[in-house]
Amino acid sequence: MKVLVCISHVPDTTSKINFTADNSAFDKNGVQFVINPYDEFGLTRAIWLKEKKGASVTVLNVGGNETEPTLRKALAIGADNAIRVDAEPSDAFFVAKQIAAVAQEGGYDLIIAGRESIDYNGGQVPGMVAALLNWPFVNACVGMDGEGPEFNFTREIDGGKEKLSASLPLVIGGQKGLVEESDLRIPNMRGIMQARTKPLEVKAAVDAETKTSVGSFSKPAPKSAVKMIDAENVSELVQLLHDEAKVI
């Protein structure tokens, strides 16, 4: 089984988010980048497939060379090789086209992506990849078992869970549950050293349109200070909720 794990290079969850002066782009200055947490669950699940079923695991990122440390971390955790499509990931369709092209060319039979990336939270890429390849798509996947080529999946849906099965080749949009947080792996020192010698191939992008363009970014309004109102003073509370908070 050849597994392709899509790795998005995203700001650490504790980063302070700022935009460039004209609000047209995210300001990467001083920000630490990590493997997208949703992708890390998928990567760990892929490594299980490697360890238990002898699958090969390739990690893939569409991005500039600044993302290579993130790919090398995935290699240190246990992926066999990495591919970076050398292009600015301009929108979901562009990225999906690149992933689909790599998948087709490399003859992969399972693509695991995260249900979304925690930077722009588009949540579109894996679905688009499945559509471009004409493969089944299991989104918000929280469980996977079976021997293959048919697998049983559990999906998280509003207010409950859905069980379904599908056969390879297919695309998964993964999240926590695919493996648990305690299953995530810290790369060991030897793994980190071995990552140095594992192949990291840089590929040119295939032609693809960018179908959306970004207007501007803005931050949510800062939270205003809490106002304390005397417990007896209901009329003031009502008045403030009506006039200031505008919730009643």
């Binding site: 790369p187 050293m193 990552a195």
Partner: protein, 600 residues
């Protein structure tokens, strides 16, 4: 000839007599992607496996310490510098420093267990062991299957380690040594499997080292000691009662044990310095987030200048100590490489590499442990009453860091040692201290030069100040040597003054050079905070040099000579353009407060 002569590398202790440029030093920002990944993996390990259960350390749960050490072994954290053929990673010295840094901050219990195992527990075998000894023990020590301990201290032999009374006697058949004696304060004793034990054979001048396995007949243990801090670090007495050890377990040569002990301590000292850093960073992070949350008089206490001042000083001292520690760490690594390239074996080069910088190791041991103590103390103060509570993290940090000033040679011993080694180098002709000292003495008689550097160049004045602070040390130490000769040893107070000056100058210089190197790489604007911290530290160092210089001068110089030296010192410790310290501290604090954690 137009060719520029390649600069000689900076030898140990030589910083005192020569100008050091920023491109000669290593800064933590120079770590490779791989080294940074190792550091991050270590931090992730601590956050995931240790932080959620850290209170187990306070409940004297020794098994927890052992469990975490085993897990650290699985991740490869115990064999960073152990050669690959013995199951380690064969990485360089500064990588081992970086990992030690990140593993040590969460708890002094773990820090001590890690330091005792990877440092004094493993290094003697790694560096002095025969092939057979290394094959037998190193892979286990690197993986964590074998835990190491080091038995030097005795009830009657602490700082005076070579005075130990433990005896080793060759048995009649010549195949064994019989060890008798008592060791005290032995870290990891509760769970270690391999003990490096120092004992004296007959009336030898020096001790001899032996490898003793747990379970050897005649070896027994005292109860766990109850301590001020590091509650889950196992500390016991170890007793040897006709303990029979095969002759092949002698480590190194007969009479060579004291040298092993001292060389292991050189390593231990710089490692201890680095081990204090992450504890300080964590205290700062807790401190600032508490200061941001805690409201008094209707505002966050972090808005008060008195609190900002603390945050700025704590952060600055930590950043500067970090600069100094990794600078020396790389100097050691570079020297190891040089010696190996010159044909020395890897183990020998590792010994000589660190020995060359023994002065820096002693300086850093004091600096790291005292910065750690200062930061923890101020951390409690920021928390107010809550800081005194065992339910808040400061109380543990404060108690845990206290040991750092005692073991691996007390800070007094290290202060004495740093100056003694410097003078020894001069005496042996390895370093010319006398000519620069005479030059300074001559300068005192001359009319001071009125040339001023171009103050618009970053750090032009600061670098001049560093040179002047070095002159202050040369003036005071040179005169003290001239006055007391070999009897200077009996003038410990003056040696303490000199040591203080030495420490402050090494630290301040490291901060300035790091900030300068960063400014060259990223532009001055991008590293404004680092520049401010380097300046703030330098100011403090200048005050300390002035204070200790004055104390020393008052202690032994008189009359005209005293007046002249005091005038010289005043000239050497005065800034032409004093900083507005309040503004400097506020701007550093603002960064810490806005990041809500240690920001560098």
């Amino acid at each position: 000839m137009a060719e520029v002569e390649a600069k000689e590398y900076l030898k140990g202790g030589e910083f005192l007599i020569r100008t050091v440029e920023s491109d000669e030093i290593f800064i933590p920002e120079d770590f490779s992607e791989e080294q940074k990944m190792m550091a991050q993996a270590t931090t992730d390990f601590i956050e995931k496996e240790v932080v959620p259960q850290r209170d187990r350390f306070e409940k004297k749960d020794y098994a927890f310490t052992e469990e975490i050490m085993k897990k650290a072994g699985e991740l490869g954290l115990l064999g960073i510098t152990v050669p690959e053929e013995f199951g380690g990673l064969g990485m360089d010295f500064n990588t081992s420093m970086l990992v030690c840094d990140r593993i040590s901050g969460v708890s002094g219990s773990l820090s001590t267990a890690y330091g005792a195992h990877t440092g004094i527990g493993t290094l003697p075998v790694q560096l002095y062991g025969t092939d057979a000894q290394r094959e037998k023990y190193l892979p286990g020590l690197a993986s964590g299957e074998i835990m190491g301990a080091y038995c030097l201290t005795e009830p009657g032999a602490g700082s005076d380690a070579n005075s130990g009374k433990t005896k080793a006697e060759l048995t009649e058949d010549g195949k064994h040594y019989k060890i008798n004696g008592q060791k005290i304060w032995i870290s990891n004793a509760g769970f270690a499997n391999l003990f490096t034990v120092f004992a004296r054979i007959e009336d030898d001048k020096y001790l001899t080292a032996f490898l003793v396995e747990r379970g050897t007949e005649g070896m027994s243990f005292g109860e766990e000691e109850h301590k001020l801090g590091i509650h889950a670090s196992s500390t016991r007495q170890v007793f040897f009662n006709d303990c029979i050890v095969p002759v092949e377990n002698m480590l190194g040569e007969r009479n060579g044990g004291f040298k092993i002990a001292m060389n292991a301590l050189n390593y231990g000292r710089i490692k201890l310095a680095v081990a204090c850093l992450d504890a300080a960073r964590r205290v700062i992070s807790y401190g600032v987030s508490y200061a941001n949350e805690r409201k008094q008089f209707g505002v966050s206490i972090s808005s008060f200048g008195a609190i900002q001042q603390k945050l700025a000083e704590m952060t600055t001292k930590t950043w500067v100590a970090e600069s100094a520690v990794y600078r020396a760490g790389q100097d050691i690594e570079n020297h190891i490489i040089r010696l190996q390239e010159g044909g020395m074996s890897s183990a020998e080069a590792k010994l000589k590499g660190v020995e060359e910088y023994a002065i820096e190791c002693a300086i850093l041991k004091v600096l790291g442990s005292e910065v750690g103590s200062y930061v923890a103390d101020e951390g409690i103060q920021i928390y107010g009453g809550m800081g005194y509570s065992a339910d808040a993290p400061m109380e543990q940090a404060y108690r845990d860091v206290r040991i750092a000033r005692i073991y691996e040679g007390t800070n007094e011993i290290n202060r004495l040692h740093s100056v003694a080694m410097l003078l020894k180098k001069a005496l042996k002709g390895e370093m010319d201290l006398m000519s620069p000292a005479m030059k300074v003495a001559g300068e005192l008689m001359e009319i001071p030069s009125f040339d001023t550097p171009d103050y618009s160049v970053l750090f032009a004045e600061e670098k001049e100040i560093i040179e002047k602070l070095k002159k202050s040390i040369l003036m005071v130490a040179g005169k003290a040597v001239e006055t007391f000769g070999m009897d200077l040893e009996a003038e410990q107070e003056i040696i303490m003054n000199a040591a203080e000056m030495l420490i402050e100058v090494y630290a301040a210089e490291s901060g300035i050079l790091r900030a300068e190197k960063l400014a060259k790489q990223k532009g001055e604007e991008a590293v404004a905070h680092e520049i401010n911290m380097a300046k703030l530290y330098l100011h403090g160092a200048m005050e300390q040099v002035a204070k200790h210089g004055r104390e020393a001068i008052y202690s032994f110089a008189e009359g005209d000579e005293q007046r002249m030296m005091l005038m010289g010192l005043k000239r050497f410790t005065k800034a032409a353009n004093p900083y507005n310290l309040k503004t400097l501290r506020r701007s550093i604090a603002a960064k810490v407060i806005s990041d809500n954690k240690y920001p560098f």
